[in-house]
Structures are given as C-alpha cells and as structure tokens.
C-alpha cells in the first residue's frame, strides 16, 4: 500500500476528483442518451410516418401528424386482418405445443440422472443452430405428402424445428434450479415421475413457462423463410410475409405510409409484452446461454 502511494505523483486535490467525476457522469449520460436514440428512434419514426398523408410524408417533420387514415384502411382490409389471424393462430399453437414437448423433455434432462443426458442435450442444441434452408427440400416433400401445402397449419409443424429445441433447452436450465429436496420425500413415498412433475414442479414453474412461452411466441410470430415458402396465396399468409411482399407499382410509388402503419400494428403487441415481462424475458434469454 504505502510504496504504491509513494510511487505515484502527489495526490491531486479533492476538487480535481470532484470535477473529473462530474465530467465523467455527464459523458455517461450523453452516451446513454445516444443509445436510447439509436434503439428507439427508428420505431418512433415508423409511427410518425404512418400518421402522415401525401406530401407530408416526404417532409421530414419530427412530430406525428396524427392522421390515422392508414390504420382505418388496414382494419378494413380483410387480407391484412386475415394474415394477422393466421399469425396469431400459428404462433399460439406453436407455442403451446413447444411448451408441452419442452417441459416433458426438460423434466427428463433436468431432474433424472441417466447416462446419455449430455449427449441428448448436445443433439438438441445442434438442431437449434443448423440453418433452416437445409431442411427445406425434405420439408417441402413432407408438407405436400401430408396435404398441408398452402395451409397455415403447415407452418406450425415446420416452426417446431426451431421452437422445440429452444423451449427444451431453456426449460431444462430453469427446472434444474429447483432444489432436489422438493421431490425427495415424494420419491421415498414411491410417487411416480409423472406425478412429481404435475403436482410438485409444474405449480412452481409458472414464471419459467411464461418467459419461455413469450420467447417461443416471438420466434414463431417473426418467422419468415418457412412462411414465405409454404404458403402461396394471400389469404394464407402470415404478417411478416404479407408486409415483406407489399410493393408499389414502381419504385417511386412505394407505399411507405401503409407499410409503416402495418409495421407499427404488428409490433405494438410484441413491444408491450416485452416491456411488461422485461425481467422474465432477460432471464429466459440468458439462462440458456450463460449457464448452458
């Protein structure tokens, strides 16, 4: 300690440190504001643009004009409402299925010791990272064979490829966190595994299921490649594909106002859910990566 102080130049006055700390604080707040503008401005701008009509759209005024014509048009557009309903149906069904499959697998992988446990986890992780385009040919044949081509139900099946490994992985890390003592008494009493899962663990897993479910829902709601490939007609599209395929008659008549209105409409519920369940979502996202 002492020689360290001797080695350093004379201690500066406390006023110096106070000013330095204040300058640093100001710089930090400035940097934080930049981060906020960078992350939030694009979405704000989409909202502003979606409320401007005609020539106003092309004048970059920073305040919204609050003209909701585009939104009224969207609500009265049966194709857009149809794709919203398709997206909701597909995402909800995918989420429920993935949670049921995931919780069952997570119980085996997180609470029972068996020799191939690590190998199974590794295979599931590998499935979740390989590119979707690789299964496209085989999936096309499978969908056709099942007679599901151009049906929203086909998407539920294909989405399981990414959502099931994801829910399994995250629920396994969550289920492992409960203390062993929880089920020890039940095991001694000869309680079956199914009863332990249903009566002891499941009632405690509400928050884990909620955060995993939200993440799976977002994954399914935002999917593009399979939705683009396995649906053909407008009435069977999901929202991302519908928005992706909106096009003007030429490059100069691109309907940016309408696209921005549709974009805001489909993301508003997501953003609301994400902000409300902020902590749970971060817990879910990091559980899989950091502890795995």
């Amino acid at each position: 300690m002492t020689d360290l102080f001797l080695a350093r130049p004379a201690r500066k006055s406390s006023a110096y440190y106070r000013v330095r700390r204040q300058v640093l604080r100001v710089l930090q707040i400035l940097a934080l504001s930049l981060v906020l503008i960078y992350t939030l401005f694009p979405y704000y701008w989409a909202f502003v643009s979606s409320t401007k009509q005609g020539a106003a759209l092309y004048r970059s005024v920073l305040l919204p004009a609050l003209d909701f014509t585009y939104y009224r048009e969207l609500i009265n557009n049966p194709v857009f409402i149809g794709s919203l309903l398709n997206s909701a149906y597909v995402a909800v069904a995918t989420t429920c299925l993935s949670l049921v499959i995931g919780i069952s697998a997570a119980y085996a992988l997180g609470r029972i010791d068996f020799p191939q446990r690590r190998a199974v986890l590794m295979i599931i992780l590998m499935i979740s990272i390989f590119p979707q385009v690789v299964v496209l040919s085989g999936m096309f044949e499978l969908i056709n064979w099942l007679g599901l081509f151009n049906r929203p139900s086909a998407l539920i099946l294909t989405y399981l490829l990414s959502t099931v490994p994801f829910t399994t992985w995250i629920l396994t890390t969550f289920i492992r966190e409960f203390p062993r003592e929880l089920e020890e008494a039940a095991i001694v009493d000869g309680c079956s595994h199914l009863r332990i899962l249903m009566k002891i663990l499941l009632p405690l897993m509400g928050p884990s299921l909620a955060s995993t479910g939200i993440l799976a829902f977002i994954l399914a709601w935002n999917e593009f490649l399979f939705a683009l490939t396995f649906t053909l007609t407008d009435e069977n599209r999901t929202v991302p594909v519908a928005i992706g395929l909106i096009a003007g008659t030429n490059r100069y008549e691109y309907p940016f106002g309408q696209i921005m209105a549709a974009s805001v409409t489909v993301t508003l519920p997501l953003i609301a859910v994400v902000l409300v369940f902020q902590r749970r979502i971060v817990a879910g996202l990091t559980a899989g990566a950091v502890k795995g």
Partner: protein
C-alpha cells in the same frame, strides 16, 4: 438405490423424451436426410417422385457455379463484419448500462425493442429511413452539411452490403448486450474494489480484470451470433430480393430450389450450406475449448 430402481428411472427418462424425439425425427432428421438424398438425384419440384440418381453431379454443378461462390463470399463478409461490430458495440453498451447512472433501467428496457421487432419490419423501417429522396437519414446528413444530395443507400451496388450490415447490427446488438451484461453481473464486485483501492487505473482494470472474466460470456454470444448470421435469409431477401451483391447462401439455395424448381441442385446447394455451417461451428467450438484448456 437398487439397480432395478435405477433402470426404472432410465426408462422413465426416455419416456419423457418421447415427444421431443418424435417431433425432432419428423421435422429435423427426416427432412435433413431427404435433402441429402435429393442432392444425388435430378428431381424437379413439380413432381419429386420422378427422378434418377446422378451421383455427385449436382454437388459439382453448385461448386462450379460462379454465383454460389459470390453468395459464400457475401455470407462470410456479412458474418465476420457484423458479428465483430456487434460484439464491440454490445460490450460498450453493456459496460455503460452496468454503471449506476440515471436512466439505465429505461435503457435496459429500450434495448429489447429492436430485438423484438420482426426482421421484415426492421428492414422496411430502415429502408424507408434510408430512402434516397425522402429518407430521414439523408435529410439529416444534408442539414448537417455532410452531403449535397441524397445518397442512394439501397439502390447502389457498392453501398448495399454496408446497409445490410448496419441494419443487422441495429437488430442484434441487444442480444449481445444482454448476454454480456449477464456475464458482467456474475463478476464479483470485490475484485474491482480491491483494484481500485490499490490505485489501478480504470483502463487497466478493464483490460486485466473485466475482459478476461467476460471471455466465456463473449465466447458463447459470438458462437450463437455467428451461426445465426451464417443462415441469414430474411434481411437480404426483403431488402434486395435476389440481388447478387447481398445474396446469402440461404437465398442461393432457396432460389435454386423454389424459383428454379430444381429439387436436385437446390438440395445439393443446401448440403453445401450444411457443410459450411458445420465447419464454422467446429472451428469456433474448437477455439473456445482451446481457450478453456489454456486456463482462461
């Protein structure tokens, strides 16, 4: 526990795994196997039941295709540059949010917004903001005097890859921030306090304590982001359809398969994509293991 009970436990484990194994066999293993199989046939998409075996002709055809190599180069360029920027930016933002400053809670919530928005929507929003005539970015740059007239960000061939990387950085930096932040919070505060008391300057504390302790968290984040970037499809597709300047390997394979209806050649391209991603995954995982073995 008796051997009989242990055996019963193992059986129970496999029973609980039946749904996940069955679903993965149907949607992952079987389609993957069929893709590999079709790669060796001359089948077309309109009637996959009519085909003959052609050996490795398709694999060679893709290998000799100039466009395929363009797509490989684009994909690798995109992956390396965007993951590098995301890691640096993610680290910077994570360190900033980790400080006790007013508004950090707000920033932590705001950072989730770009992450939750669908890729298609983010792409459309930035396409509009980067529009050459009416985009707000060009207006801003003009007002600040950096440019005289609007830059055609998405229309000109030389800039479009930069735009794709820029949008991807905006969308996926949040993921990096969250993972690095989680890593930061696992480092015990006592080490920093000790170092501060000893008069170690801030930059050195960062370089010798924070960075080495963050290595595992950053390693995992880079692995996930890299493999995700290698399969990128929607961003390039929505922004530029099949523009060769930003065509990725996923777009190339899907084009051959769906647009040209060539089930055989398309499957061969998918097989190459699979091999490419597997190779990169092995290299990164190997590097992480070496890192751990070296004592970090």
């Amino acid at each position: 526990m008796s051997a009989r009970l242990v055996r019963r436990d193992h059986l129970a484990a496999w029973l609980f795994l039946v749904p996940v194994i069955a679903s993965m066999l149907v949607v992952a293993v079987w389609p993957l196997g069929r893709t590999f199989f079709f790669a060796f046939t001359d089948a077309f998409l309109d009637d996959p039941s009519v085909y003959s075996m052609v050996g490795i002709d398709n694999l060679i055809e893709v290998f000799n295709d100039h466009t395929w190599w363009l797509a490989v180069r684009n994909t690798l360029t995109f992956t390396v540059i965007s993951v590098a920027i995301e890691t640096a930016l993610g680290l910077a933002i994570a360190l900033l949010i980790n400080e006790a400053i007013p508004g950090r809670g707000l920033a932590r919530a705001a950072i989730l917004v770009p992450w939750a928005i669908p890729v298609v929507v983010s792409t459309k929003i930035w396409e509009w903001m980067l529009n050459d005539q009416f985009g707000v970015i060009n207006k801003l740059l003009e007002a600040l005097g950096f440019i005289d007239h609007g830059v055609a960000w998405t229309a000109s061939g030389s800039l479009i890859m930069g735009v794709v990387i820029f949008i991807d950085v905006w969308m996926t930096t949040p993921f990096m921030v969250l993972l690095i932040l989680a890593g930061l919070q696992m480092i015990s505060q006592e080490i920093f306090e000790a170092a501060e008391v000893d008069g170690i300057p801030a930059w050195k504390r960062f370089w010798s304590i924070t960075l080495p302790m963050l290595r595992p968290a950053i390693g995992v984040a880079v692995l996930f982001r890299t493999l995700d970037a290698l399969r990128m499809f929607d961003l390039s597709y929505v922004l530029a359809a099949s523009n060769e300047k930003v065509m990725t390997v996923s777009i190339y394979a899907r084009d051959r398969l769906i647009s040209f209806q060539e089930l055989g050649v398309g499957s061969a391209a998918s097989t190459w994509v699979f091999l490419l991603v597997a190779l990169v995954a092995i290299i990164i995982i190997g590097a992480l293991r070496l890192d751990r073995a070296a004592g970090h």
